[in-house]
């Protein structure tokens, strides 16, 4: 595997239409912020990554 596998862009979609994409380090806090601010949800890093797919 190349080094690119550590920096693959991921995408997460919320039921409300919100989408976030980026590398894990930027994606996770974006999704957590959306969950908290828009839906009163506390989402763990693992939960975010479980929903994420390669962009």
């Amino acid at each position: 595997m190349s080094e690119e596998s550590d920096t693959v862009d991921l995408i997460v979609r919320c039921d409300c239409g919100f989408e976030a994409r980026g590398e894990e380090a930027e994606l996770v806090p974006l999704v957590q912020e959306h969950g908290r601010d828009a839906h009163n949800m506390e989402v763990t890093r693992d939960q975010v990554l479980a929903m994420a797919r390669p962009a």
Binding site: I11, V12, R13, C14, D15, C16, G17, V31, G35, D37, A38, H39, N40, M41, V43, M51, R53, P54
Partner: protein
């Protein structure tokens, strides 16, 4: 994998708030919340007050609402869904797209038939009927809503808070 559909992440929990964020636009009521033309779902923690949660999130995302009222409850989405109407000012959160709402029939179960699926349009219809009730019954609501709102609500048969099934 390329062929796999992207799953949509959704709210969960024993209690969820379903919020219809409404705004008046040129004499027509619009659904204009954070989820666009769809209801906005919010998780409610076991120690949280649903009204406080909805009001706080709305304030942070769209500015202080004019009015927030619960209108009905039902079982759906694996939860108890507590539905709210939230009224914003006409010029509030202009960045949020508004979609005019339409009237809907309220399906009522027959005595011996199973409950039909309730659409969010029917929940919203009841929500506005309850708002019409509140305009008559609640001095705060009556003094908060302007003439355009009262003109629209005059076309709705007033109904109390209900369990929708």
């Amino acid at each position: 994998m390329s062929g796999d559909p992207l799953p949509a992440w959704t709210t969960r929990g024993p209690v969820q708030a379903e919020v219809f964020a409404l705004r008046m636009h040129e004499g027509t009521v619009e659904l204009a919340g954070p989820c666009g033309a769809d209801p906005w779902y919010v998780e409610v923690g076991e120690d949280e007050d649903p009204l406080e949660v909805v009001s706080r999130l709305a304030r942070n995302l769209m500015g202080e609402p004019l009015l927030v009222h619960s209108t009905s409850w039902r079982r759906a989405r694996g939860s108890v869904i507590l539905s709210f109407v939230l009224v914003n000012r006409d010029d509030q959160a202009p960045e949020l797209l508004g979609t005019p709402i339409a009237r809907a029939d309220l399906a009522r179960n027959a005595a011996t038939s199973a409950a039909a699926t309730i659409s969010y349009q029917q929940v919203l219809e009841h929500g506005l009927r309850h708002l019409a009730w509140l305009v008559e019954d609640d001095e705060v609501v009556r003094s908060t809503l302007g003439g355009e709102w009262k003109a629209v609500l005059a076309h709705y048969v007033p109904e109390p808070f209900r369990h929708l099934s």
